[in-house]
């Protein structure tokens, strides 16, 4: 008897104690940030939680980008999706197509009466996450672009001028040959993210279509176009140059980036987000420069596109919780915070105001390498071919494209045959995607 009464009393006491916490609306934020950037995420949530008492943002690390996205999708199917899901740029089309599963950010902010102006963002950033009518569907968070990193010490050793990096692809090939002759015989130059660099960024940078319908932005009835003469020529060059390791393949993702910091590959194309890693690990004098281009391609260089991720708000939550999410986004948009996010993490400043503020502070004079990707993104006003890209099934499609490039590099297929196959296999996947979303 006593026992039961005691348990009841204890339970009641525990419930009362828990009440104040329960009154706080909890907002789940699933993300894929590791290392320094994980600390940045946690710090943001802590700072927000400290500014008010009504809402509590709880960041949860869910693994790699694809893992996080799949976890969000699985949770949605099971009826307990998080409020905020960080989705990488290639998942954008999938999220946009899932109209019933998401809460568009422009709508969320309007309903909560929070200030939100898509024009505050860099055009390349806003365009990437907006519909063709200019409605922003997700909240840009961490953005990067692709740049060319190079080893200045190696350049000196090969008799190249370390302060004048090669601008065009033919110049890169020449430099790589000299570097190879100077002892870098395993790798003259290389590239991480083989498809992102050599198909996606390559197309936008040269103002040639990656796919029809403005690379898929204007509709899901898009068809791939990257088997053009220019694309084939580039792949053909890579095939020929890898025979003597002037070019050396580094895989589909960024796992090969260590080849730059270890000094093995003196020229390496990858994300601008590589900055922190280079700064911490490269034991040589380094720099970065814009991506190279073919000088005879009309209009090149055009402008590059984004990598990174944005925050999606999942659908079907009560209005009170959405108000909290909107408050949190308003908090994230503050210029000081954006500027610090940029300088802390090395990701791009995504609002114009933050960029201007950082620029005025003189930060880029000491850190010119953080400005390269921004200059690239803003190089020219975007064209139909360079607004961005939005293709369904992109996660797996990148693998399919990479498979064909690998087959070409391994000598199983010609450059033309490989790109033709990549286009036709990709188109099959696009049609399947179109079919599942068009109803």
């Amino acid at each position: 008897m006593f026992n039961r009464r005691f348990v009841l009393a204890a339970t009641a006491a525990a419930m009362m104690a828990a009440t104040p916490a329960a009154a706080q609306v909890e907002i789940q934020w699933w993300h894929a940030m590791t290392g320094v950037n994980n600390d940045v995420v946690n710090k943001l949530a802590q700072d927000f939680n400290a500014t008010q008492t009504e809402y509590r943002v709880v960041p949860v690390y869910k693994g790699s980008y694809p893992d996080t996205m799949n976890a969000g999708i699985a949770a949605f199917r099971a009826g307990n999706a998080p409020h905020i899901l960080q989705v990488f740029e290639v998942g954008t089309a999938t999220m946009m197509a899932a109209r019933g599963a998401i809460k568009p950010v422009f709508q969320l902010m309007a309903e909560a009466n929070e200030p939100f102006d898509p024009k505050a963002y860099l055009p390349a950033v806003a365009g990437y996450y907006s519909t063709s009518r200019g409605e922003m569907l997700s909240f840009p968070f961490n953005s990067s672009s692709a740049v060319m990193w190079y080893n200045k010490d190696a350049f000196r050793r090969a008799g190249l001028n370390p302060d004048v990096p090669p601008k065009t692809w033919p110049e890169v090939f020449e430099a790589a040959k000299k570097l190879r002759a100077a002892g870098f015989d395993k790798c003259g130059f290389s590239s991480a993210w083989i498809t992102w660099l050599n198909l996606e960024q390559f197309s936008l940078w040269h103002n040639v279509p990656l796919a029809s319908r403005a690379n898929g932005i204007d509709g899901f009835d898009t068809e791939l176009r990257f088997n053009s003469a220019l694309h084939v020529r580039h792949l053909q060059n890579l095939i020929e140059l890898q025979r003597d390791n002037t070019f050396s393949y580094s895989g589909r993702t960024n796992t090969g980036e260590g080849r730059f910091t270890s000094g093995e590959c003196p020229i390496f194309l990858t994300s601008s987000g590589f900055y922190g890693n280079v700064k911490a690990n490269a034991k040589f004098d380094w720099a970065n420069a814009p991506m190279p281009y073919y000088p005879d391609a009309a209009g090149a260089p055009q402008n590059s596109t984004l990598g990174g991720a944005s925050l999606w708000v999942m659908g079907g939550k009560p209005a009170a919780e959405y108000r909290g999410v909107a408050k949190f986004f308003a908090f994230l948009s503050q210029t000081d915070r954006q500027a610090r996010l940029h300088t802390d993490s090395g990701y791009l400043p995504i609002t114009l105001a933050a960029y201007e503020q950082v620029k005025a502070s003189g930060f880029y004079r000491e850190n010119p390498y953080l400005e390269t990707p921004i200059l690239q993104l803003n190089n020219k006003p975007p064209t139909e071919n360079s607004r961005g890209l939005r293709l369904g099934n992109m996660v797996q499609m990148r693998d399919v494209w990479a498979e064909e490039i690998e087959a070409a590099l391994a000598g199983q297929k010609s450059a033309q045959a490989a790109l033709d196959a990549a286009v036709s296999r990709g188109n099959t996947m696009l049609r399947q995607f179109e079919r599942t979303v068009s109803r």
Partner: protein, 293 residues
Amino acid sequence: MEKRVVFDGKILPYALLMPQLLITIIFFYWPAAQAVWQSFLIQDAFGLSTEFVWLENYAVLFANPDYYRSMLTTLVFSTLVTVFSLSLSLLLAVQADKQIKGASGYKTFLMWPYAVAPAIAGVLWLFMFQPSLGLVAQAIRALGFDWNPQLNANHAMALVVMAATWKQISYNFLFFLAGLQSIPKSVIEAAAIDGARPVRRFWTVIFPLLSPTTFFLLVVNIVYVFFDTFGIIDSVTGGGPAQGTTTLVYKVFSDGRLGGDLGGSAAQSVVLMVLVIGLTAIQFRYIERKVQY
């Protein structure tokens, strides 16, 4: 007066069987039925729109040349891993069964790899054989051999076969060792007295008496290569290069989880399920006849 315990009623036996039945139904039959049902549907990743398409997923699957390629890859991969892991572990077990110094330490070390998760095993091998970082890879390249699993499908296949074999050897070793120890010494001694030398004794006496164990391991190993090697392939090659190591189970993952094509992926897993059931049935029907219990 006769005293006998009689359980009348039909409920009790079922009640006693219930826990096991429930586990089987919830964890085996229900997911399998779900996979079959899903294979008739075309659905977007979020499950927002669903269309019942009868056998279209299967038709698409069997019209896809990549699928046959993946079958061939699986055949090569599973044959290599099964043959290597069974023969190497048998060799090791026979050696460990002898009177040697430090036999127990030797046995313990051989069992360790079994405690390693497949993904970790994959990463360990990757570190040794990664072309620019791996110690072994650097040694191979220093010898003038152009080791490059990132582009050469045969090199990549060799790498995953090594990792998968290494991982499975401990398990096979344990069973072989137990099998060897249960063979009566008198039979072997009788053969020895008849003048049979060790090699002959092994092939004519020990190996046939070991056949139940070998058969059991054959079934277990094939199931292992078909399903459990996924973690190794994912961490070592990601199915590449150019689909060179995309086995059937990896393709299920890549189409379903990376591609969001749940219907097609479910159709593949149903085919895979039928294949493994068929393979196991054949083994029991034909190979088991040759087994001497």
